[in-house]
Symmetry: C2
Subunit: 420 residues, 2 copies
């Protein structure tokens, strides 16, 4: 690593970084970007809070220089999925509801002589940045609070897309191609329907990414159902019936979050899992399985359901180079922004050009971002509501380009792991 | 490609190759090996039967020179999952039960002037080779019949291991590492149990492969249950309870085929899927999901189930170089063997040495192989029946080494696809 600027007479300038929300393949690349830039900009101690704000409240943190010893470690961190520092799902109360918790957080930050607080996460994490920066301004605390976007769901407003999305999209598209090849192997004198279940509670960005499997040597999925469009199970059955007259092997991608007209999730129709997380989000599972059973009973042909499960957010062995590099960039940009005096901001990715693709980091007021979900625009879905348009493909295609070869040790990808 | 030996005065020497049974990441590498060696040994037309013996009976075949045009195509074929020629699950009747079907097959082979018949598949496919070679000998037909092993399940007797197994094991081990990282991200003040379901109806080779995830920076799974050992659900609950007192994040790998003492599959306990294929094999699914529900109800902690599903047999983007190279080798060795006059044989992989690992192709009488399943030896499982031993690891580790980088086009692995 380049030697950091040092000035032994300067007052201590420490920085702390945390990770929150669901894991992705890119969240540690943002952490690497924060670390490298903070190091180069002369911050003294670079702390990592363990398990985000929840761990910080228990004074759980590490000096990251005890964990990252070389440029090689930084590269390894970029190739490590899930949250290196541990994550949490912890929602700060409104300031007026519980002053004490805010006082506790700031007492810890003061004790550690923190100048900048960087939080890598999704919508809920940006809400944390908003509240902490508001509180600091109102109470006259000097710390700067910056958010770094992260979510495979791509549902954050104002940023062109979110770090983590491209790698998840690439894994899903590549796996969809492989699943289609697998399904076609048995297509002789046999009809079959495969239903792929993709993450995305309310936003269909990842489900739409299955369409990337439509390439010169692969048809891709035949039907794609996003949560933005009300799911009509009778129409669905009719569409599949018609398709079966033309094709033997049918591939259908569905979001875990598709709902029928009365507002119920499709996965609820089977009386399936019903677990609510700390943010009040219902955990969804079983959509594909329910629909596979439904089609099997109605059409009598072989059906199977495949859930991409947690692998779609943690398969860093199939990461997109564009995604990992952008995640690194926004991490670094957050440190730069805080170092230059910004607070209450989130770093966003601005798309400069499509062909050749170029992007840069921008800075937005987090008040404009927090808790606004970004959905797939209706005009990027076809009229029938069962496939996406070329505009969607053009938007997503640059984000899955390039790869980050894993560091293979003894046949398997190696990860950087926290040493306690 | 090297120019084939040609002799325009020689009688026509044609060869036909087919693929059968479940897809793997390596079955097309064997096809590539057959093609390249047949080409180099001067066979005139190299036919591919479409969808195995079932397609052949309908006279469905292609001249492979219309499909494979260059060494680049051969390399692409090695990187393409599932059966390039299409597969089937078709069991030939006993010779005395249906002479007509045998006469039909040999009429087709005679018409195509076939000298050698190569069949790439698992136990059931070796049964086909046995019957066809027996029939040929009895009836005085000159064709040679050779089997090339293929199965992710590694349950074929006499061969040290099967092509396809190493790549599936590598994918499962790498994904297990990623799933564990994902699970650990949320371990703060929370207990969770993840149950991974792995293919392998009767043999636990692939389930045991999850133990490869135990590396210097990863604990690997905590418990591993193979189908060779009767599953005791009360003992299972006790073991998990004890483990939860020591650990917050528990990872359990189970074979889809584990059974309780009365002979029922665990997945049957939930009244789950019950589909029987053409070979009379029951399709198993839902073991992990059943156990996750059971532990959740008994222990009240967060549980989740993950099925590796069809990706474990078709994720060629995570193939093992050793596996793909050996699959290529046995394909070529089958052609060589037939060309030298063998029939009714299967090519096997002999392990020459462990460190450094070396293997070579051997030739065995298919009568000794067909329909004998190879199980994990009891002494390779620990006394409690819930983990594997170092001997198992030492056996499997060489088989996942090295990679075959996919040919990436526009961000996604490219495949070679049959042109009709």
């Amino acid at each position: 690593m380049k030697k950091k600027k040092s000035d032994s007479n300067a007052k201590k300038r420490n920085i702390i970084v945390g990770q929150s929300g669901g894991p992705t393949s890119a969240i540690n690349s943002s952490l690497a970007g924060v670390y490298k830039t903070a190091h180069e900009r002369g911050f003294h101690t670079i702390y990592g809070m363990l398990n985000g704000i929840q761990g910080l409240l228990d004074e759980q943190y590490v000096d990251l220089s005890t964990q990252i010893h070389s440029d090689m470690d930084i590269e390894l961190l970029k190739r490590t999925p899930s949250a290196f520092l541990g994550s949490c799902r912890y929602k700060l109360p409104e300031i007026h509801e519980d002053l004490e918790i805010y006082e506790k957080i700031f007492a810890i930050l003061d004790k550690l002589e923190i100048e900048a607080f960087i939080y890598i996460g999704g919508n809920d994490s940006m809400d944390t940045i908003k509240k902490l920066s508001d509180y600091a301004i109102v109470k006259g605390h000097k710390q700067k609070f910056l958010g770094v976007p992260k979510t495979i769901d791509n549902d954050l407003a104002l940023t062109d897309h979110t770090p983590g999305f491209g790698s998840a999209a690439k894994y899903i598209a590549a796996s969809t191609k492989e699943i289609i090849r697998d399904a076609l192997g048995f297509s002789y004198h046999k009809k079959s329907i495969s239903i792929l279940e993709v993450m995305g509670r309310n936003a269909g960005w990842l489900t739409g990414a299955t369409a990337l499997a439509r390439t010169e040597e692969c048809d891709g999925p035949d039907l794609i159902y996003l949560p933005e469009i009300t799911f009509d199970i009778d129409k669905f059955l009719e569409t599949v019936k018609e398709l079966m007259e033309k094709k033997d092997t049918i591939i259908i991608a569905v979001s875990e979050g598709i709902k029928i007209a009365d507002g119920r999730y499709v996965c609820e129709l089977s009386g399936g899992a019903d677990y609510v997380d700390a943010f009040g989000h219902r955990q969804l599972q079983g959509t594909a399985s329910y629909l596979a059973g439904f089609l099997c009973s109605q059409l009598g042909c072989k059906t199977r359901s495949i859930e991409f499960s947690t692998l779609q957010r943690s398969a860093s062995h199939m990461a997109s180079r564009v995604d990992i590099d952008e995640a690194f960039m926004v991490g670094g940009a957050a440190v730069k922004s805080a170092d230059e005096g910004d607070t209450g901001k989130m770093i966003v990715i601005d798309r400069i050009a499509d062909d050749p693709y170029m992007s840069s980091a921008g800075v937005y007021d987090v008040h404009r971002i927090a808790n606004n979900e970004k959905f797939v625009p209706r005009e990027w879905v076809n009229e029938e509501g069962n496939y996406i348009t070329d505009e969607f493909i053009n938007y997503i295609e640059p984000l899955i380009q390039g790869d980050y070869q894993p560091f293979i040790v003894n046949g398997l990808p190696q990860h950087l792991v926290l040493k306690r």
